[in-house]
Subunit: 233 residues, 2 copies
DNA sequence: CCATGTGAATACTTTCACAGCC
DNA sequence: GGCTGTGAAAGTATTCACATGG
Protein backbone atom coordinates (compact mmCIF):
# COMPACT_ATOMS: atom_id res chain seq x y z
CA UNK A 1 0.00 0.00 0.00
CA UNK A 2 3.02 2.27 0.18
CA UNK A 3 2.46 4.71 -2.62
CA UNK A 4 5.38 6.00 -4.60
CA UNK A 5 4.71 9.04 -6.71
CA UNK A 6 8.17 10.47 -6.71
CA UNK A 7 10.39 9.63 -9.69
CA UNK A 8 13.34 9.09 -7.37
CA UNK A 9 14.47 5.52 -7.90
CA UNK A 10 17.63 5.77 -5.86
CA UNK A 11 16.45 3.52 -3.09
CA UNK A 12 16.31 6.28 -0.50
CA UNK A 13 13.05 6.60 1.37
CA UNK A 14 11.66 9.53 -0.53
CA UNK A 15 8.15 9.74 0.82
CA UNK A 16 6.46 12.87 -0.26
CA UNK A 17 6.13 15.14 2.72
CA UNK A 18 3.69 18.00 2.11
CA UNK A 19 5.17 21.50 2.24
CA UNK A 20 2.86 22.51 5.04
CA UNK A 21 4.16 19.62 7.10
CA UNK A 22 7.81 20.39 6.37
CA UNK A 23 7.23 23.94 7.57
CA UNK A 24 5.92 22.62 10.89
CA UNK A 25 8.51 19.98 11.62
CA UNK A 26 10.98 22.56 12.99
CA UNK A 27 8.23 23.77 15.30
CA UNK A 28 7.77 20.25 16.63
CA UNK A 29 11.50 19.95 17.09
CA UNK A 30 11.54 23.08 19.17
CA UNK A 31 8.63 21.82 21.24
CA UNK A 32 10.36 18.48 21.79
CA UNK A 33 13.52 20.25 22.87
CA UNK A 34 11.51 22.26 25.36
CA UNK A 35 9.95 19.09 26.76
CA UNK A 36 13.33 17.36 26.94
CA UNK A 37 14.74 20.30 28.90
CA UNK A 38 11.89 19.98 31.36
CA UNK A 39 12.89 16.37 31.80
CA UNK A 40 9.83 14.95 30.06
CA UNK A 41 10.67 11.55 28.58
CA UNK A 42 7.44 10.73 26.84
CA UNK A 43 4.41 12.68 25.69
CA UNK A 44 1.05 12.24 24.01
CA UNK A 45 0.10 14.04 20.82
CA UNK A 46 -2.13 16.37 22.83
CA UNK A 47 0.71 17.66 24.96
CA UNK A 48 3.14 18.01 22.12
CA UNK A 49 0.51 19.68 19.98
CA UNK A 50 -0.20 22.18 22.71
CA UNK A 51 3.50 22.98 23.09
CA UNK A 52 3.71 23.46 19.36
CA UNK A 53 0.50 25.43 19.04
CA UNK A 54 -1.26 23.10 16.63
CA UNK A 55 -4.25 20.78 16.57
CA UNK A 56 -3.36 17.26 17.82
CA UNK A 57 -4.83 15.59 14.75
CA UNK A 58 -2.66 17.74 12.53
CA UNK A 59 0.38 16.83 14.54
CA UNK A 60 -0.34 13.11 14.23
CA UNK A 61 -1.02 13.40 10.53
CA UNK A 62 2.23 15.31 10.05
CA UNK A 63 4.19 12.70 11.98
CA UNK A 64 2.53 9.92 10.01
CA UNK A 65 4.32 11.17 6.88
CA UNK A 66 7.63 10.34 8.53
CA UNK A 67 6.66 6.90 9.78
CA UNK A 68 5.13 5.34 12.86
CA UNK A 69 7.29 6.59 15.66
CA UNK A 70 4.70 6.57 18.43
CA UNK A 71 3.25 3.85 20.60
CA UNK A 72 -0.51 3.38 20.57
CA UNK A 73 -2.05 3.90 23.96
CA UNK A 74 1.11 5.59 25.20
CA UNK A 75 2.45 8.43 23.09
CA UNK A 76 5.86 9.39 21.78
CA UNK A 77 9.30 8.96 23.26
CA UNK A 78 10.58 12.53 23.32
CA UNK A 79 14.20 11.81 22.52
CA UNK A 80 13.46 9.20 19.86
CA UNK A 81 10.93 11.39 18.05
CA UNK A 82 13.26 14.36 18.29
CA UNK A 83 15.98 12.35 16.62
CA UNK A 84 13.71 11.07 13.87
CA UNK A 85 12.46 14.53 12.96
CA UNK A 86 15.97 15.95 13.10
CA UNK A 87 17.15 13.23 10.75
CA UNK A 88 14.30 13.82 8.33
CA UNK A 89 15.04 17.54 8.35
CA UNK A 90 18.69 16.97 7.62
CA UNK A 91 19.78 18.22 11.01
CA UNK A 92 22.10 15.33 11.70
CA UNK A 93 24.62 17.41 9.84
CA UNK A 94 25.45 21.10 10.12
CA UNK A 95 24.58 23.35 7.22
CA UNK A 96 26.94 26.16 6.46
CA UNK A 97 25.41 29.33 5.10
CA UNK A 98 26.90 32.44 3.59
CA UNK A 99 25.26 35.79 4.28
CA UNK A 100 25.57 38.43 1.58
CA UNK A 101 25.11 41.97 2.84
CA UNK A 102 26.43 42.95 6.25
CA UNK A 103 24.22 45.93 6.98
CA UNK A 104 21.98 46.01 9.99
CA UNK A 105 20.03 42.95 9.04
CA UNK A 106 23.01 40.89 7.91
CA UNK A 107 24.79 41.73 11.16
CA UNK A 108 21.74 40.79 13.18
CA UNK A 109 21.50 37.48 11.35
CA UNK A 110 25.14 36.69 11.86
CA UNK A 111 24.73 37.26 15.59
CA UNK A 112 21.50 35.31 15.83
CA UNK A 113 21.71 32.79 18.64
CA UNK A 114 19.03 30.49 17.37
CA UNK A 115 20.97 29.06 14.45
CA UNK A 116 23.70 27.03 16.04
CA UNK A 117 21.40 24.76 17.98
CA UNK A 118 19.45 23.99 14.84
CA UNK A 119 22.14 22.75 12.57
CA UNK A 120 22.76 26.10 10.92
CA UNK A 121 26.21 27.69 10.97
CA UNK A 122 27.02 31.08 9.55
CA UNK A 123 30.23 30.20 7.76
CA UNK A 124 30.98 33.39 5.86
CA UNK A 125 29.96 37.01 5.47
CA UNK A 126 30.26 38.82 2.18
CA UNK A 127 29.68 42.44 1.22
CA UNK A 128 30.12 44.51 -1.92
CA UNK A 129 31.09 47.61 0.02
CA UNK A 130 34.92 47.91 0.31
CA UNK A 131 34.43 49.83 3.55
CA UNK A 132 32.89 46.81 5.16
CA UNK A 133 35.26 44.23 3.74
CA UNK A 134 37.84 43.24 6.31
CA UNK A 135 35.79 44.30 9.29
CA UNK A 136 34.92 41.61 11.81
CA UNK A 137 31.26 40.97 12.52
CA UNK A 138 30.23 38.38 15.10
CA UNK A 139 33.73 36.98 14.92
CA UNK A 140 33.76 36.58 11.15
CA UNK A 141 35.85 38.67 8.80
CA UNK A 142 33.78 40.14 5.99
CA UNK A 143 34.96 39.05 2.55
CA UNK A 144 34.55 40.86 -0.74
CA UNK A 145 31.79 39.77 -3.09
CA UNK A 146 34.40 38.72 -5.65
CA UNK A 147 35.55 35.90 -3.44
CA UNK A 148 32.12 34.32 -3.29
CA UNK A 149 33.01 31.50 -5.68
CA UNK A 150 36.04 30.44 -3.66
CA UNK A 151 34.21 30.69 -0.35
CA UNK A 152 31.29 28.61 -1.52
CA UNK A 153 33.52 26.00 -3.13
CA UNK A 154 36.06 25.81 -0.28
CA UNK A 155 33.51 25.49 2.46
CA UNK A 156 31.05 23.42 0.47
CA UNK A 157 28.22 25.86 1.15
CA UNK A 158 24.87 25.25 -0.47
CA UNK A 159 22.68 27.84 1.27
CA UNK A 160 22.95 31.59 0.77
CA UNK A 161 21.19 34.44 2.54
CA UNK A 162 20.52 37.72 0.77
CA UNK A 163 20.47 40.62 3.22
CA UNK A 164 21.19 43.41 0.78
CA UNK A 165 19.00 46.31 -0.38
CA UNK A 166 16.34 45.29 -2.87
CA UNK A 167 18.21 46.78 -5.81
CA UNK A 168 21.15 44.44 -5.35
CA UNK A 169 19.13 41.29 -4.74
CA UNK A 170 18.89 39.98 -8.29
CA UNK A 171 22.57 40.40 -9.02
CA UNK A 172 23.53 38.79 -5.74
CA UNK A 173 21.19 35.89 -6.44
CA UNK A 174 22.85 35.35 -9.80
CA UNK A 175 26.29 35.40 -8.26
CA UNK A 176 25.19 32.96 -5.58
CA UNK A 177 23.82 30.59 -8.19
CA UNK A 178 26.95 30.96 -10.31
CA UNK A 179 29.02 30.12 -7.25
CA UNK A 180 27.07 26.91 -6.79
CA UNK A 181 24.46 27.84 -4.19
CA UNK A 182 21.22 25.90 -4.60
CA UNK A 183 19.08 27.34 -1.81
CA UNK A 184 18.52 31.00 -1.09
CA UNK A 185 16.82 32.81 1.76
CA UNK A 186 15.95 36.26 0.52
CA UNK A 187 15.36 39.08 2.99
CA UNK A 188 15.61 41.82 0.38
CA UNK A 189 12.34 43.46 -0.58
CA UNK A 190 12.54 42.24 -4.16
CA UNK A 191 11.74 39.14 -6.15
CA UNK A 192 14.69 37.21 -7.45
CA UNK A 193 14.61 35.01 -10.53
CA UNK A 194 16.64 31.83 -10.34
CA UNK A 195 17.06 28.77 -12.57
CA UNK A 196 15.16 25.57 -11.96
CA UNK A 197 16.66 23.47 -9.22
CA UNK A 198 17.42 26.45 -7.01
CA UNK A 199 15.06 26.97 -4.07
CA UNK A 200 14.23 30.43 -2.90
CA UNK A 201 12.35 31.38 0.20
CA UNK A 202 11.46 34.96 0.90
CA UNK A 203 11.01 36.74 4.20
CA UNK A 204 9.61 40.21 3.87
CA UNK A 205 9.55 42.19 7.08
CA UNK A 206 7.28 44.94 5.87
CA UNK A 207 4.79 42.53 4.30
CA UNK A 208 4.27 40.87 7.66
CA UNK A 209 3.48 44.22 9.22
CA UNK A 210 1.22 45.17 6.33
CA UNK A 211 -0.79 42.01 6.87
CA UNK A 212 -1.20 42.90 10.54
CA UNK A 213 -2.20 46.43 9.58
CA UNK A 214 -4.88 45.01 7.31
CA UNK A 215 -6.36 43.02 10.16
CA UNK A 216 -6.14 46.02 12.46
CA UNK A 217 -8.06 48.05 9.97
CA UNK A 218 -10.76 45.41 9.78
CA UNK A 219 -11.04 45.27 13.55
CA UNK A 220 -11.40 49.03 13.63
CA UNK A 221 -14.10 49.14 10.99
CA UNK A 222 -15.91 46.16 12.52
CA UNK A 223 -16.11 48.03 15.81
CA UNK A 224 -17.67 50.94 14.04
CA UNK A 225 -20.29 49.04 12.06
CA UNK A 226 -21.39 46.49 14.64
CA UNK A 227 -21.57 48.01 18.08
CA UNK A 228 -24.05 45.51 19.44
CA UNK A 229 -23.69 42.55 17.15
CA UNK A 230 -22.00 39.58 18.78
CA UNK A 231 -23.26 36.75 16.57
CA UNK A 232 -21.23 33.84 15.24
CA UNK A 233 -17.80 35.19 14.50
CA UNK B 1 -22.22 45.06 -10.81
CA UNK B 2 -22.69 46.46 -7.35
CA UNK B 3 -19.30 46.11 -5.79
CA UNK B 4 -18.69 45.74 -2.12
CA UNK B 5 -17.55 48.96 -0.58
CA UNK B 6 -15.33 49.01 2.46
CA UNK B 7 -18.04 48.63 5.11
CA UNK B 8 -19.19 45.02 5.25
CA UNK B 9 -22.90 44.87 4.57
CA UNK B 10 -23.69 41.61 6.28
CA UNK B 11 -22.44 41.82 9.82
CA UNK B 12 -18.78 42.09 9.09
CA UNK B 13 -16.51 39.78 11.06
CA UNK B 14 -16.51 37.03 8.44
CA UNK B 15 -13.63 36.42 6.06
CA UNK B 16 -14.16 38.52 2.98
CA UNK B 17 -10.71 38.23 1.50
CA UNK B 18 -8.91 34.89 1.80
CA UNK B 19 -5.76 34.92 3.91
CA UNK B 20 -3.67 33.75 1.00
CA UNK B 21 -4.87 36.73 -0.99
CA UNK B 22 -4.23 39.22 1.81
CA UNK B 23 -0.67 37.93 2.01
CA UNK B 24 -0.16 38.64 -1.68
CA UNK B 25 -1.71 42.08 -1.89
CA UNK B 26 1.44 43.78 -0.56
CA UNK B 27 3.39 41.97 -3.27
CA UNK B 28 1.09 43.39 -5.90
CA UNK B 29 1.47 46.82 -4.36
CA UNK B 30 5.22 46.58 -4.63
CA UNK B 31 4.95 45.43 -8.24
CA UNK B 32 2.62 48.31 -9.05
CA UNK B 33 5.00 50.77 -7.45
CA UNK B 34 7.81 49.38 -9.56
CA UNK B 35 5.73 49.78 -12.72
CA UNK B 36 4.72 53.31 -11.74
CA UNK B 37 8.37 54.21 -11.24
CA UNK B 38 9.12 52.97 -14.75
CA UNK B 39 6.42 55.29 -16.00
CA UNK B 40 3.99 52.53 -16.91
CA UNK B 41 0.43 53.86 -16.73
CA UNK B 42 -1.52 50.72 -17.51
CA UNK B 43 -0.83 47.02 -17.47
CA UNK B 44 -2.44 43.68 -18.21
CA UNK B 45 -2.71 40.93 -15.61
CA UNK B 46 0.08 39.04 -17.37
CA UNK B 47 2.60 41.81 -16.92
CA UNK B 48 1.63 42.57 -13.36
CA UNK B 49 1.62 38.88 -12.52
CA UNK B 50 5.10 38.50 -13.92
CA UNK B 51 6.35 41.46 -11.89
CA UNK B 52 4.80 39.95 -8.81
CA UNK B 53 5.96 36.41 -9.51
CA UNK B 54 2.54 34.78 -9.58
CA UNK B 55 0.24 33.10 -12.05
CA UNK B 56 -1.95 35.63 -13.93
CA UNK B 57 -5.14 33.75 -13.12
CA UNK B 58 -4.29 33.89 -9.44
CA UNK B 59 -3.68 37.60 -9.68
CA UNK B 60 -7.03 38.21 -11.34
CA UNK B 61 -8.82 36.01 -8.83
CA UNK B 62 -7.14 37.86 -5.97
CA UNK B 63 -8.10 41.24 -7.40
CA UNK B 64 -11.65 40.06 -7.95
CA UNK B 65 -12.09 39.83 -4.17
CA UNK B 66 -11.55 43.57 -3.96
CA UNK B 67 -13.88 44.51 -6.79
CA UNK B 68 -13.74 45.05 -10.52
CA UNK B 69 -10.96 47.53 -10.93
CA UNK B 70 -9.80 46.50 -14.39
CA UNK B 71 -11.11 47.16 -17.87
CA UNK B 72 -11.90 44.17 -20.08
CA UNK B 73 -9.83 44.09 -23.20
CA UNK B 74 -7.42 46.62 -21.73
CA UNK B 75 -6.01 45.84 -18.31
CA UNK B 76 -5.52 47.81 -15.12
CA UNK B 77 -4.71 51.45 -14.56
CA UNK B 78 -1.56 51.28 -12.48
CA UNK B 79 -2.21 54.23 -10.24
CA UNK B 80 -5.88 53.46 -9.71
CA UNK B 81 -5.26 49.83 -8.83
CA UNK B 82 -2.40 50.81 -6.58
CA UNK B 83 -4.68 53.13 -4.69
CA UNK B 84 -7.46 50.58 -4.38
CA UNK B 85 -5.18 47.91 -2.98
CA UNK B 86 -3.53 50.40 -0.64
CA UNK B 87 -6.93 51.42 0.63
CA UNK B 88 -8.02 47.83 1.16
CA UNK B 89 -4.79 47.12 3.04
CA UNK B 90 -5.28 50.12 5.29
CA UNK B 91 -2.30 51.92 3.86
CA UNK B 92 -4.11 55.19 3.41
CA UNK B 93 -3.06 55.81 6.98
CA UNK B 94 0.28 55.29 8.67
CA UNK B 95 0.53 52.58 11.29
CA UNK B 96 2.76 53.24 14.24
CA UNK B 97 4.54 50.23 15.70
CA UNK B 98 6.50 49.75 18.89
CA UNK B 99 9.49 47.44 18.85
CA UNK B 100 10.31 45.65 22.08
CA UNK B 101 13.89 44.46 22.32
CA UNK B 102 16.68 46.57 20.89
CA UNK B 103 19.30 43.93 20.36
CA UNK B 104 20.76 43.22 16.95
CA UNK B 105 17.46 42.32 15.39
CA UNK B 106 15.47 45.13 16.98
CA UNK B 107 18.10 47.61 15.85
CA UNK B 108 18.04 46.21 12.35
CA UNK B 109 14.28 46.48 12.25
CA UNK B 110 14.28 50.04 13.50
CA UNK B 111 16.70 50.97 10.74
CA UNK B 112 14.82 49.08 8.04
CA UNK B 113 14.24 51.32 5.08
CA UNK B 114 11.32 49.41 3.64
CA UNK B 115 8.78 50.38 6.27
CA UNK B 116 8.22 54.07 5.73
CA UNK B 117 7.08 53.75 2.15
CA UNK B 118 4.57 51.10 3.14
CA UNK B 119 2.62 52.90 5.76
CA UNK B 120 4.62 51.53 8.68
CA UNK B 121 6.36 53.86 11.11
CA UNK B 122 8.54 52.74 13.98
CA UNK B 123 7.21 55.04 16.64
CA UNK B 124 8.96 53.74 19.73
CA UNK B 125 11.67 51.41 20.95
CA UNK B 126 11.48 49.68 24.28
CA UNK B 127 13.93 47.48 26.13
CA UNK B 128 14.06 45.85 29.54
CA UNK B 129 17.82 46.29 29.86
CA UNK B 130 18.64 49.51 31.81
CA UNK B 131 21.93 49.69 29.90
CA UNK B 132 20.06 50.17 26.67
CA UNK B 133 17.40 52.52 27.94
CA UNK B 134 18.24 56.07 27.00
CA UNK B 135 20.48 55.16 24.12
CA UNK B 136 19.47 56.42 20.70
CA UNK B 137 18.90 53.86 17.97
CA UNK B 138 17.99 54.98 14.46
CA UNK B 139 17.13 58.37 15.87
CA UNK B 140 14.78 57.02 18.53
CA UNK B 141 15.52 57.07 22.25
CA UNK B 142 15.02 53.67 23.83
CA UNK B 143 12.39 53.69 26.59
CA UNK B 144 12.11 51.36 29.57
CA UNK B 145 9.64 48.52 29.39
CA UNK B 146 7.69 50.08 32.27
CA UNK B 147 6.63 52.95 30.09
CA UNK B 148 5.00 50.71 27.53
CA UNK B 149 1.46 51.53 28.65
CA UNK B 150 1.98 55.26 28.34
CA UNK B 151 3.75 54.96 25.00
CA UNK B 152 1.05 52.79 23.47
CA UNK B 153 -1.73 55.00 24.80
CA UNK B 154 -0.11 58.32 23.96
CA UNK B 155 0.81 57.41 20.43
CA UNK B 156 -2.26 55.28 19.78
CA UNK B 157 -0.18 52.30 18.76
CA UNK B 158 -1.93 49.04 17.94
CA UNK B 159 0.93 46.96 16.53
CA UNK B 160 3.85 45.63 18.53
CA UNK B 161 6.98 43.81 17.44
CA UNK B 162 8.71 41.33 19.72
CA UNK B 163 12.45 41.21 19.04
CA UNK B 164 13.57 39.81 22.37
CA UNK B 165 15.12 36.46 23.23
CA UNK B 166 12.65 33.59 23.27
CA UNK B 167 12.54 33.44 27.03
CA UNK B 168 11.16 36.97 27.32
CA UNK B 169 8.61 36.65 24.53
CA UNK B 170 5.60 35.51 26.52
CA UNK B 171 5.98 38.16 29.19
CA UNK B 172 6.48 40.87 26.60
CA UNK B 173 3.42 39.67 24.72
CA UNK B 174 1.35 39.92 27.90
CA UNK B 175 2.62 43.41 28.59
CA UNK B 176 1.87 44.45 25.03
CA UNK B 177 -1.66 43.12 25.28
CA UNK B 178 -2.13 44.76 28.67
CA UNK B 179 -0.98 48.04 27.15
CA UNK B 180 -3.66 47.76 24.48
CA UNK B 181 -1.79 46.27 21.54
CA UNK B 182 -4.00 44.09 19.33
CA UNK B 183 -1.52 42.88 16.71
CA UNK B 184 1.87 41.36 17.35
CA UNK B 185 4.71 40.42 15.05
CA UNK B 186 6.85 37.92 16.92
CA UNK B 187 10.46 37.39 15.88
CA UNK B 188 11.38 35.55 19.05
CA UNK B 189 11.89 31.82 18.70
CA UNK B 190 8.98 30.99 20.97
CA UNK B 191 5.24 30.65 20.78
CA UNK B 192 3.25 33.31 22.54
CA UNK B 193 -0.24 32.83 23.91
CA UNK B 194 -2.58 35.79 23.59
CA UNK B 195 -6.28 36.35 24.24
CA UNK B 196 -8.84 36.17 21.46
CA UNK B 197 -8.97 39.29 19.39
CA UNK B 198 -5.22 39.73 19.34
CA UNK B 199 -3.48 38.74 16.11
CA UNK B 200 -0.04 37.24 16.20
CA UNK B 201 2.19 36.56 13.25
CA UNK B 202 5.47 34.78 13.71
CA UNK B 203 8.66 35.08 11.72
CA UNK B 204 11.25 32.52 12.60
CA UNK B 205 14.60 33.03 10.97
CA UNK B 206 16.01 29.64 11.77
CA UNK B 207 12.89 27.80 10.65
CA UNK B 208 13.22 29.29 7.19
CA UNK B 209 16.77 28.04 6.97
CA UNK B 210 15.79 24.64 8.30
CA UNK B 211 13.21 24.32 5.56
CA UNK B 212 15.86 25.12 2.96
CA UNK B 213 18.21 22.61 4.56
CA UNK B 214 15.53 19.96 4.27
CA UNK B 215 15.21 20.57 0.55
CA UNK B 216 18.98 20.61 0.18
CA UNK B 217 19.17 17.26 1.85
CA UNK B 218 16.59 15.84 -0.53
CA UNK B 219 18.46 17.20 -3.53
CA UNK B 220 21.65 15.66 -2.18
CA UNK B 221 20.12 12.25 -1.62
CA UNK B 222 18.52 12.35 -5.07
CA UNK B 223 22.03 12.79 -6.54
CA UNK B 224 23.38 9.92 -4.51
CA UNK B 225 24.83 8.18 -7.57
CA UNK B 226 27.79 10.56 -7.67
CA UNK B 227 28.16 11.89 -4.15
CA UNK B 228 28.00 10.04 -0.90
CA UNK B 229 27.13 11.99 2.18
CA UNK B 230 27.70 10.88 5.72
CA UNK B 231 24.95 10.25 8.26
CA UNK B 232 22.76 7.97 6.21
CA UNK B 233 20.86 5.68 8.53
C1' DC C 1 -10.87 41.38 -30.84
C1' DC C 2 -8.86 41.25 -26.23
C1' DA C 3 -8.04 40.83 -21.41
C1' DT C 4 -10.94 40.76 -17.37
C1' DG C 5 -13.72 38.36 -14.10
C1' DT C 6 -15.54 34.02 -12.64
C1' DG C 7 -17.84 29.42 -12.41
C1' DA C 8 -16.04 24.86 -12.45
C1' DA C 9 -12.24 21.59 -11.91
C1' DT C 10 -8.27 20.34 -9.58
C1' DA C 11 -4.97 20.24 -5.94
C1' DC C 12 -3.73 20.82 -1.39
C1' DT C 13 -4.64 21.21 3.77
C1' DT C 14 -7.02 20.58 7.86
C1' DT C 15 -10.13 18.24 10.68
C1' DC C 16 -13.03 14.46 12.01
C1' DA C 17 -13.87 10.07 13.76
C1' DC C 18 -12.77 5.58 14.49
C1' DA C 19 -10.25 1.12 13.63
C1' DG C 20 -6.26 -0.98 15.46
C1' DC C 21 -2.87 -1.85 18.70
C1' DC C 22 -0.66 -1.43 23.22
C1' DG D 1 -8.96 2.07 28.74
C1' DG D 2 -6.23 5.13 25.97
C1' DC D 3 -3.73 7.00 22.21
C1' DT D 4 -1.82 6.43 17.67
C1' DG D 5 -2.30 6.25 12.80
C1' DT D 6 -5.27 6.98 8.94
C1' DG D 7 -9.19 6.79 5.62
C1' DA D 8 -12.76 9.91 4.55
C1' DA D 9 -14.98 14.45 4.86
C1' DA D 10 -14.73 19.27 4.95
C1' DG D 11 -12.50 23.37 4.00
C1' DT D 12 -9.03 26.34 1.25
C1' DA D 13 -6.27 27.51 -2.49
C1' DT D 14 -4.89 27.34 -7.19
C1' DT D 15 -5.58 26.77 -11.91
C1' DC D 16 -8.31 26.23 -16.03
C1' DA D 17 -11.07 27.83 -19.59
C1' DC D 18 -14.45 30.67 -21.40
C1' DA D 19 -18.41 33.84 -21.25
C1' DT D 20 -18.59 38.76 -20.86
C1' DG D 21 -18.30 43.32 -22.00
C1' DG D 22 -15.44 47.35 -23.11
Amino acid sequence: MTLLRSPRLDGSTSRDIPDATVARLPVYLRALNALAEQGVMSCASNELAEQAGVNPAKLRKDLSYLGSYGTRGVGYDVEYLRYQIAREMGQTQDWDVVIVGVGNLGSALSAYQGFSTRGIRVAALVDADPQRVGTVVSGITVSPLDELDEIVADRDISIGVIATPGTAAQEVAERLVAAGITSILNFAPALVQVPDGVDVRKVDLSIELQILAYHEQRKASADKTSTDKAATA
